[in-house]
C-alpha cells in the first residue's frame, strides 16, 4: 500500500476540515450546555430535551418525514418505470428527447424548478400545502432514482428475463419474479436517495408550501432568521444523522447490487 507523504496528509486534513469543520462545530454545540456558541459549559442533552417540548418543531419534522416518505415512494415507482423505458424500450421514437428530459432536472437550478412548479400550481388553482410539496419533491427526485436504477439495468443480463419468458412466465410476472428481486438494491438505494433529497430541500419547499405545511428545513430557516437558538443545533444534528444514515445505506446497497451482478456484466 502506498504511504501518504507529509504534504499529502496535510492537504487531506485541510480538505476534510474545510468540508466538515462547520458541521462538527454544529454537532458539538448541540451538546453544549451554554446558550452561547463561544462558551463551553459542559456536555448536556439540554437542547434535545427542549426540542422534545417544541410542538412547532416536532410538527415540522413530522411533515418533513411524511413528505419524504410519500415523494420518495412515488419517485421510485415513476423513476424505475422511466429507467425501464430507457433501457428496454429499444430505439423508440423520441428516445433521445425522453432521456434528455429525464436527466434535465438533475442540473436544473432548484429556484427555477420551484418557481415553475409554483406557477403551475397557481395556474391550475391547487391550494398549496402538504400535497403540493409531495408532488414537487417527486418531480425533483424522480430523475435521481431513474439514474440509479438505469445504471443497474444496463448491466442486467437480459437472458435471465428471456429464460423466465421461455419457461412460461408472462412479462409482468417475469418483472416481479426475476427482474425486481435482482435490481431491488438499486431501487432501494434510489428510494433512500430520494428520501434524503426531499428531507434536505429548502428552496423548492419554500416556493410550493402553504399554510399548515411547514417542512423542517423551512422551520429551521425561519427560526434562524430570528437568531440562532441552540435547539436548532440539536435538530440539525438529528437531521444530519438521518441523512447520513440514508446515504450510507444507499451506497452500501448499490455496492451490494454491483457485486451481485453476474460476472460477465461486471467485466
Amino acid at each position: 500500500m502506498k504511504r501518504f507523504g507529509c504534504t499529502n496528509l496535510t492537504a487531506l486534513a485541510l480538505g476534510l476540515a474545510f468540508l466538515y469543520l462547520p458541521i462538527a462545530v454544529l454537532v458539538v454545540n448541540s451538546f453544549n450546555d451554554s446558550r452561547l456558541v463561544t462558551v463551553w459549559a459542559g456536555a448536556s442533552l439540554r437542547w434535545y430535551r427542549e426540542l422534545a417540548n417544541d410542538a412547532a418543531m416536532l410538527d415540522a419534522a413530522s411533515v418533513s418525514f411524511r413528505v419524504a416518505f410519500l415523494s420518495a415512494t412515488a419517485a421510485t415507482i415513476l423513476g424505475t418505470l422511466a429507467a425501464l423505458a430507457l433501457t428496454r424500450g429499444g430505439r423508440f421514437r423520441g428516445r433521445l428527447l425522453f432521456s434528455g428530459m429525464i436527466y434535465a432536472p438533475l442540473v436544473m437550478p432548484e429556484v427555477i424548478t420551484g418557481l415553475s412548479l409554483l406557477l403551475l400550481f397557481v395556474a391550475v388553482e391547487i391550494d398549496r400545502g402538504f400535497w403540493t410539496i409531495v408532488i414537487a419533491h417527486t418531480t425533483l427526485t424522480l430523475c435521481f432514482v431513474a439514474v440509479v436504477v438505469q445504471s443497474r439495468l444496463v448491466t442486467f443480463d437480459r437472458s435471465l428475463e428471456e429464460a423466465a419468458l421461455d419457461l412460461g412466465c408472462p412479462p409482468l410476472r417475469t418483472f416481479l419474479a426475476v427482474t425486481l428481486p435482482l435490481i431491488w438494491p438499486a431501487v432501494a438505494s434510489g428510494w433512500m436517495l430520494a428520501f434524503a433529497l426531499s428531507l434536505d430541500d429548502l428552496v423548492i419547499a419554500s416556493f410550493v408550501s402553504g399554510p399548515g405545511a411547514t417542512t423542517l428545513p423551512l422551520r429551521i430557516y425561519s427560526e434562524v432568521r430570528l437568531g440562532v437558538k441552540p435547539e436548532i443545533n440539536a435538530v440539525c444534528t438529528i437531521l444530519i444523522a438521518v441523512v447520513a444514515l440514508g446515504l450510507i445505506a444507499a451506497s452500501l446497497l448499490t455496492k451490494r447490487s454491483a457485486s451481485k451482478a453476474p460476472l460477465g456484466a461486471r467485466m
Binding site: 443480463d157 437472458s159 435471465l160 428471456e162 429464460a163 423466465a164 419468458l165 421461455d166 419457461l167 412460461g168 412466465c169 408472462p170 412479462p171 410476472r173 419474479a177 426475476v178 428481486p181 435482482l182 451481485k260 453476474p262 460477465g264
Partner: protein, 358 residues
Amino acid sequence: MAVLVSFDQVTKRFGDFTAVDGLSLDIHEREFFALLGPSGCGKTTLLRMLAGFEAPDGGRVTLAGQDLAGIPPYRRPVNMMFQSYALFPHMTVAGNVAFGLKQDGLARDEIAARVDEMLGLVQLRPLAARKPDQLSGGQRQRVALARSLAKRPKVLLLDEPLAALDRKLREETRFELKELQRRLATTFVIVTHDQDEAMSIADRIGVMNRGCLAQVGTPAEIYERPASRWVAGFVGDVNLIEGRVTAVYPSFVMVDRVGMRLRVAHAPVAPGPIAVALRPEKIRVSHAVPDGAFENGAAGTVADIGYLGTLSLYKVRLDDGLVLKAAVMNEQRAERPIHVNERVWLSWTPDAAVLLME
C-alpha cells in the same frame, strides 16, 4: 418420421443485414438435430425464432402443423437452454428447476416430485438447496438442462450447451446428452460450431453458412458426400483437386488434371470443370508404385509429417506443385518408416473421392 418443426422460406433481417435468408428446414419428431456453422452464420437467430424471441421478417415457422407467428415465447411448448445458462441467481437449484412448473400452476407436491425427478436425471439431488453461484460450471450446465427439461417441452433447444465446459467434460457430457435424448424421446435441436460435437451427437446435421443451409443430412452423408466445396472444407479435413471431367461412364467419370487422371465413382455429370474432394484418411502412402498407378495415384515428395497420436498426417507435394494431405493410422504405417523429403506414392480407390460441382 413425422415432421415436428418446419421452417418455410424463413428470413430474418437486422437492419440491412440478412441473418437468415429464405431458409427451409424440417425437423422430425424424436430427432437429435444439430445446426452446425461458423460464427455469425445465423444459428442462434434461427433458434430464437423457434423459441419466439425474434419474429421472422418472411416465411413461416410451424410446430406440429401450427403456425407459430404471433405466439409469444411464454405460450410455446418449446424450451431453451441458454448458452450462458441464465440461471436465476436469487433462487436455489430446486427453485430454478421448479420455476417453469410453477407457471403452469401445478400442485405443490407434483412440482416437488417433478423437481426431484429432474434433479435425479442430471444427478444433482444433493445440491438442490445450493444457489447457482455455489456451483461449478458443469453443475450449472446440468441445472440449466434440468430446468429446460422440467416442463417436458415438445422441442428442447440447446444453444452451444457445452461451449463453456472444458474439453474432457464436454466429451463426457455429449454422450450423456445423447443418452438423455434417447431416454426422454424428445426432439433436441442443438446449435454448435464444433463439428466433432455435431458429428458424434446428432441424428442429422444442418450445415449453415451465411444464413442459408448448405447441406442437411446424417453425419455420415455430410462427411462422405459433401454437397459443395464449402461443406467439404468446413466439415473435416479435405484435399480439393480441381480438374475437368473428360469422360462420363454409367458408374464413374474420368477427371483429368495436368499429370493426373482420376477415376471417380459417381452419378454421371456433364463434362467440364469440377473439383474432386478426397479425405486424407482415404489416401494410402507407400514407397512402392501402387497397382494401376496411372489412375488415382500420384508421386510426390514428403514435405511435412505431423504426429497426432493415433494417426500421422503426411503432407506430400506432388510433382505439379499440388499439396495433398494423407492421414495414416500409426499401427498401419508402412514396414519401412517414411521420412521428410522422401519420394512416395499416393493412391486411393475410385469410390474414395467425391465430385463437387459447387
